[in-house]
């Protein structure tokens, strides 16, 4: 009898916790959509500026989030260019070249890197600039390239792990086939294994991009500003969506700015959700292809 009671309680607990979590997500997304949905539109993006002139950068935008959106895109683009080649290459090395011993040691290093809080990564970027200014580059300043570089280091371990897992999950028969038809190791990696694992690798890269797009703490210390206009170059300061949301969360002057905050948050959520959906779909189709 008592056992039945415990059973019931656990069953109820399971339903309740699932309910709580689903409710939390629904409230969050629903509230955001209802408040932010109304704000979406050309005005949210461009304020009073003419959209065409604003996109081409001929007219500065005030009171719109276009510069922040462009800043985030530039940031993500540069960070991906830095992180994806290195991350994929290191994943390939760990999976296909490294000895077991090296796999454990280097793999641990990658795990450690993955565990570093993003604010510490930002702090690292900040100290790097101070260091550079004191030594070889007195003109160095916090900037787009610094922020993107730190974001790249932040997402690097994820990409490396995803690549490693995708390749390690491939059947050994593929490796043997490559060797069997006389391919060198490099040829077998680039022509057989990477194409076979491409969806998993790509999925990992996209998740990394999403993480770079949403992170606030890194850019907070490495060059984001409240107003700068469109990003003009790698050594310039920039605006970014997550920072805009942070500023509006702590200081919305009126209802209009609050609505802008909701619009901004919704845009960022749509961006990361879309990236995530791509990654999720790719990962699924990768798993279906190779799990038998």
């Amino acid at each position: 009898m008592r056992r039945r009671l415990a059973d019931r309680a656990l069953l109820a607990g399971s339903w309740v916790s699932t309910g709580i979590i689903l409710a939390a997500v629904l409230v969050l997304v629903g509230y955001l959509a209802s408040r932010g949905g109304g704000a979406l539109g050309l005005r949210l993006l461009f304020g009073d500026a003419d959209p065409l002139a604003a996109i081409t950068g001929r007219q500065p935008v005030f009171g719109g989030i276009w510069p922040a959106l462009a800043g985030t895109c530039a940031l993500v683009l540069v960070a991906s260019c830095l992180a994806i080649p290195v991350g994929v290459a290191s994943g390939v090395y760990l999976s296909e070249y490294a000895s077991h011993r090296l796999q454990i040691i280097l793999g641990f290093g990658v795990d450690l890197l993955a565990s570093i809080p993003s604010i510490v990564m930002g702090l690292f970027g900040f100290t790097l600039i101070i260091f550079l200014r004191r030594t070889i580059l007195p003109g160095a300043n916090t900037s787009l390239i610094l922020a993107a570089g730190c974001l790249a280091v932040l997402v690097l371990p994820g990409i490396s792990r995803a690549t490693y897992n995708s390749l390690a999950g491939l059947p050994d028969s593929l490796r043997l086939t490559g060797a069997g038809i006389g391919l060198t190791r490099w040829q077998s990696v680039t022509r057989v294994l990477i194409p076979a694992g491409s969806r998993g690798i790509l999925s990992g890269c996209i998740l990394g991009i999403g993480r770079a797009a949403e992170d606030t703490a890194v850019i907070l210390l490495t060059g984001v500003v409240a107003t700068s206009g469109l990003p003009r170059g790698l050594t310039e300061k920039f605006e970014a969506l997550p920072f805009r949301i942070y500023v509006l969360a702590s200081e919305h002057r009126d209802r209009a700015e609050l609505d802008e905050g909701f619009g901004c948050a919704l845009v960022l959520l749509l961006l990361t959700a879309a990236l995530f959906a791509c990654a999720f779909w790719l990962q699924r189709s990768f798993e279906r292809k190779w799990s038998r």
Binding site: P85, V88, I194, V225, A226, T227, G233, L234, S250, E251
Partner: protein
Amino acid sequence: MMRTSAIAVALLSALALPGCTSKVETLGIAGGTAHIPVMEKAAAKLMAADPGIRITVEGGGSGVGVQKVGEGLVQIGNTGRPLSDQEVDKYGLKSFAFAIDGVAVAVHPDNAVSELTSDQCREIFAGRISSWKVIGGPDGPISLYGRDEASGTREVFWTTALAKGEVAASTKVVPSNGAMKTAIAGDPLAIGYLGIGHVDESVKAIVLDGVEPTQENATSGVYKVNRQLFMNTKGEPAGLAKKFIDYILSPEGAKIIEECGYIPVSR
């Protein structure tokens, strides 16, 4: 992978291109957060008039302003307090006062309390008076808000209004004047302090020792908790920094300063 990096390089150069096509003159401004509305408005006006210039405005607080202009990270560093002699000596800074701003104690508009003495004020911020009931306010604990260490507003408020007294560790800390206003407007039991220029109907400014916190009273000196707002440059300002400072100090700049709720310093 080779192809990806080729595309990446192409995209990167596309990104860098607009920067190369025309010579852009840039100006970085950082520091005191009371200044931000004035700086942003002036920057918007100047940039709209001349597409060839770029002005970035950051906050951070007065301490950050001194640090950044001193290290050459920005060209203008704002402070909501006069520079100390050490700061002037260390970096060779030059100050330009442009406005007067009082620092007001503020509470939620629904709060019945609208007057305090300096003594009460000190007791409250030291955490010794912790209930609103004691001073005729709503039924509930006093929720203290203060500013970060880099803040010039905090510095002025602490030295003048609190006479360098104790500050309770339970004080919640917000990073800017704007954030202070938002925090007080959202918390019915809040008390905090902010530049009078930032006060509007969303918060209630407290009459201190019988003196209404207005910019007029601050200018005349009747309201004791006041300071000047400064722009600081490393050495004599040059180029765009000079142009910007001249604009702020011009009659047109004075109009912007007034629109933002401050009183311009007459030259």
